[in-house]
Amino acid sequence: MKSTSRVQLPTSGGQGELAVTVVMWLVASLVAMILIGIVGDLVWHGIGGLRWSFLADSPARAGRSGGIAPILVSTLLILAIAMAVALPLGLAAAIGLSDFSRRGGAFASIVGRTLDVLAAVPSIVFGLFGNAVFCGWMGLGYSLLAGGLTLACMVLPILVRTIEASLRSVPDDYRVAAASLGISRTRATWSVLLPRASAGIVVGWVLGIGRVLAETAALLFTSGYVDRMPRGITDSGRSLSVHIYDLSMNIPGGTANAYTASLVLVGMLLLINGMTRVTVHVCLRGSGASE
C-alpha cells in the first residue's frame, strides 16, 4: 500500500541536494545508533545475570541478589486485573461507538474526542487519581487491586480507540448482507463483525498489555513497594518496572540486577509484540482478507 502512494522524487540535483541528502542520512543514522546503543547496553550489562534462578527466586538483600519471582507474580496479577476490567468495558464501548451510534454524529464524536483527551492524561495523574479513589475512598489501601484498577482506567482509551477503528474498517457490505438476512444487529455484531475485526481487537489488546507492563509512575503509590510474594490481590506488591526503579535509584549496588530485570521486561514486551504480529498475519490470512 505504501509503495503505490510513494512518489519517487528526482534524485539528481546540485551540490545543495547532495548536502541535504547527507544530512538526512546522518540524522537517521544518529537516531538508529542511539537506539542500538541503548538496547546493546541493556543486553551487555543484563545478560550476565539472566539465568533460571533469577526468574524463580525471591529477591534477597533488597534485590541486590536473588531473583524476581514474587515481582513477576505481582506484575502478572496487576496485568490480569487491569485487563479483566478494561477489556469488557472497552470492547462494549467500542462496539457502542462504531455500530450502535450514528456515524459522524454528535455522540460518537464527543465521546471519541473525550477518550483522546483521556489517553493524553499523564500516567502520574492516573496515580494520583488511583491513590485518592481506590486506595483512599474505596479503602483498598496499597494493593495489587488498586494498582490494577488504576491501570485499567489508563489503558481504557487505547483499547476503545483501537477496537473501534478495527470495527469501522470492516466493510459495510457485511452489515448490509447481515441486515438483508433479517438477523438482529446484535447478532450481526456478535457473529459477523467481531470475528471479522478480531485481528484489530488483538492488536488493541496487546497495545494495552504493553502500556500496563511498561507503567511505573501510576503504580508507585497505588500498588506499593512490597517485594515479597503477594498473598492475594488485596496485598501490596511491586511490579517489575517499580523494581527496576527502586534497584537503580534507591539501592546502592542494585544496578546489575536492575539491568537484568530491564532485560526481562523489554524481552517480555518484544515477545508479546512479535507474537501479535504473527497472530495478526495468521488471522488475516485465515479470514481471506486482502489487506
Binding site: E17, A28, A120, S241
Partner: protein, 292 residues
C-alpha cells in the same frame, strides 16, 4: 450511511436494549475524564483555598502539613517542567521531522521499513529503562564535562528520545496525506527533491507537524520516571544546562509517599495543573486536526 438506512430491517427491541447498554459503556469510559478532574479538584481544594497563590509566590519549597509552618513555592519546579518540556520539543521536532522525511522520501524502501521498525521499538521501551540508561550511561558521560551529570541536559536528551517516535509518526502520516497530484505537479515543473519537500510537502503537512509537536509536548510534560531518574531533582531554578532540576511530575513521585494534609493537597494541585495543561494541548491538537 447505508448502515443507518437499514436500521428498520433489524429486530428493534433487542437491538435497542443492547445498543443503550453499549452506549452506556462508552459514556462510562469517557466520563472517567470528569471523574479524574473532579477527584483531583476535590483533593486539591484545601491547598487552593488556604494557600492560593502562595503555591507560586512563596520563596522556597519546604512543605509541611500546616499552612503556617511550611513554605509552598513551586515556581522553581514549574520552571523545571517548562524547560525540560521546551528543550525536548525544540530538539525532537527537527529530529522527528527530518526522520519522517527521511523515511518517506530519502530512504530506499527496505531501509525505510527497517528505520520505522527501529522507531517503533524506541516507542515501546519503558520509561524506567530509559531512566536506567540515562542514569548509567548518559549522566556519567555528562559528568565528565561538568559534574554532577544528573542534570537538565540529561533530562532533555532522554525526553527527546522518548517523544521522537510521537513527533515522527504523526509527521509521517501528515506527509503521506499531502495530495500526490500536488507533489507530482511540482516534480513535473522540474523542481529538485529538496525543493519539492521544502516548498510543497512541508507546507502541506504543516498542521500535522504542529499536531505532532503538541502531542510530543504533552508526553514530555507528563513524563515521570525517566526524568525523575536523570534530572537530579534539586528544587532550584537552573542557571545552565548542567544544573540539576526538579519537574512537577518528579516532585509528585518523590513526595506522594509521605505527604500529609496540606502538603499532599499541594501535590494534587500541581497534578491538577498538569492535567488541565495537557488537556488544553490535546484540545489544540484536535482543533488543528480538524482544520486540515
Amino acid at each position: 450511511m447505508i448502515w443507518f438506512g437499514s436500521w428498520h430491517l433489524f429486530r428493534p427491541n433487542l437491538d435497542a436494549q443492547v445498543g443503550s447498554g453499549l452506549r452506556l459503556a462508552a459514556i462510562a469510559a469517557s466520563s472517567l475524564v470528569l471523574l479524574i478532574v473532579s477527584f483531583l479538584a476535590h483533593e486539591s481544594w484545601p491547598a487552593i483555598s488556604s494557600l492560593g497563590s502562595r503555591m507560586v509566590t512563596d520563596a522556597s519549597w519546604h512543605p509541611s502539613a500546616k499552612a503556617s509552618e511550611g513554605t509552598f513555592g513551586m515556581w522553581p519546579i514549574v520552571v523545571g517542567t517548562l524547560v525540560v518540556t521546551g528543550g525536548a520539543v525544540m530538539l525532537a521536532s527537527p529530529l522527528g521531522v527530518v526522520s519522517a522525511v527521511f523515511a518517506e522520501f530519502y530512504a530506499p524502501p527496505h531501509v525505510a521499513v527497517m528505520f520505522r521498525g527501529l522507531i517503533e521499538l524506541l516507542a515501546g521501551i519503558p520509561s524506567v529503562v530509559f531512566g536506567l540508561w540515562g542514569l548509567m550511561v548518559l549522566a556519567p558521560l555528562i559528568a565528565r564535562v561538568s559534574p554532577p551529570g544528573q542534570s537538565l541536559l540529561a533530562g532533555v536528551v532522554i525526553v527527546t528520545l522518548m517523544i521522537l517516535p510521537t513527533v515522527m509518526l504523526v509527521t509521517g502520516s501528515a506527509l503521506e496525506s499531502v495530495p500526490r497530484e500536488r507533489v507530482r505537479g511540482a516534480v513535473a515543473l522540474g523542481m529538485g527533491r529538496f525543493a519539492v519537500i521544502r516548498h510543497v510537502v512541508i507546507p502541506g503537512a504543516r498542521a500535522g507537524i504542529v499536531t505532532g509537536m503538541l502531542l510530543g509536548a504533552t508526553r514530555a510534560m507528563g513524563e515521570t520516571m525517566a526524568v525523575l531518574m536523570v534530572c537530579g531533582n534539586v528544587v532550584k531554578i537552573p542557571r545552565g544546562v548542567f544544573d540539576p532540576v526538579r519537574t512537577l511530575t518528579a516532585n509528585m513521585a518523590l513526595e506522594m509517599g509521605y505527604a500529609l494534609d496540606l502538603h499532599r493537597s499541594a501535590l494534587y494541585t500541581s497534578g491538577l495543573a498538569l492535567l488541565v495543561t495537557s488537556m488544553g494541548l490535546v484540545a489544540c491538537a484536535q482543533w488543528l486536526g480538524r482544520e486540515s
